[in-house]
């Protein structure tokens, strides 16, 4: 099973920045992002989330978000998606980093979740 990571943020810079941070330690993990709105607006777009799901080469996805409204859009996108997507109510930057580092060394999803659940804050 190949896992991928999806980062959803209200601000495109945050999403892209987290991707840069985790690419460093997880070169072989597919990471895609959905940040902000059209015209560089602040918000979350379900279409961008759907694109991030599609472009991710992982078979199953781990999704992280910043604020509650991003979660609602994520949940809608998950309901509409064919891929299995796991959604975590954990610290965005820190849990995405942890998950990426662990997936890079082929940790099982169960063990990854054990780690990131300690970062649950939402």
């Amino acid at each position: 099973m190949k896992y991928g990571i999806v980062i959803v943020s209200h601000v495109s810079d945050i999403a892209i920045g987290v991707q840069r941070l985790i690419d460093q330690v997880a070169k072989d993990v597919s990471v895609t992002t959905a940040g902000g709105l059209e015209n560089d607006g602040v918000g979350t777009s379900i279409e961008r989330i759907q694109t991030a799901f599609e472009q991710n080469t992982g078979d199953e996805l781990l999704a992280f978000y910043d604020l509650g409204s991003a979660k609602m859009n994520l949940e809608m996108a998950i309901e509409m998606s064919d891929k299995k997507v796991h959604l975590y109510d954990t610290a965005l930057v820190e849990s995405a980093y942890t998950a990426a580092a662990l997936l890079q060394v082929n940790t099982s999803l169960e063990d990854v979740e054990k780690q990131i659940n300690e970062l649950k804050i939402k």
């Binding site: 607006g41 409204s69 859009n73 949940e75 809608m76």
Partner: protein, 191 residues
């Protein structure tokens, strides 16, 4: 009261007009307890709804409701997008035009999507009393206005306003205000 295709479109025209007129006020309400964009979000979403409906043919009320849902989901950009979007999707699934079916279905969608219940200072606090009243045949503009006003003294425990905790008390919830406009324009198309 039962909607047909024409009335549903009229409802959206009226709601759109109200949103565009109150855009500044809604964003103002969202400023002390949120990020100040609710009016802009709704205005953007309702413009998309208008474009999606304008001059099109629809076979059923359900079709219109689904089209509205899709536009709101993709264009609002804030929490109100998935919330109103899910409300309209659930309304569409009832295959009914009767507001006794529609309002409770919309409420159920919002509650599920927002994981919210009454008393959390969200739009649920307008939809819930409206759903109860419509079932009893007692939904009025006055009741809607009162529910909106009641959100003023609540402390938010969901959404962005929950971050400021006690400081959310004393301000009307913007999503409740826009929900008030939505339900009042709905009542009006039945008059």
């Amino acid at each position: 009261m039962t909607l047909d295709v024409e009335k549903t479109i009229k409802w959206m025209d009226d709601f759109n007009a109200e949103i565009q007129a109150q855009k500044g006020y809604l964003s103002e309400l969202d400023t002390p307890i949120g990020d100040g964009d609710h009016g802009n979000n709704m205005a953007r979403g309702m413009e998309a709804v208008h474009e999606a409906l304008d001059g099109k043919e629809f076979n059923s009320v359900s079709d219109v409701l689904k089209t509205i849902a899709m536009s709101l989901i993709s264009k609002v950009g804030g929490a109100a997008g998935p919330l109103y979007g899910t409300a309209f999707l659930e309304m569409s699934k009832t295959n009914s035009g009767d507001i006794k079916d529609l309002i409770p279905a919309g409420l159920a969608g919002i509650e599920r999507r927002g994981n919210a219940t009454e008393g959390e200072k969200t739009m649920v606090d307008v939809w819930k009393p409206a759903a109860e009243a419509v079932s009893a045949g007692k939904l009025t503009s006055k009741l809607i206005d009162e529910s909106v006003e009641k959100t003023r003294d609540m402390q938010a425990t969901k959404g962005r306003a929950s971050y400021v905790g006690e400081r959310s008390i004393g301000h009307i919830d913007p999503g409740s205000m826009s929900s008030g406009y939505l339900l009042k324009t709905l009542l009006k198309v039945g008059e």
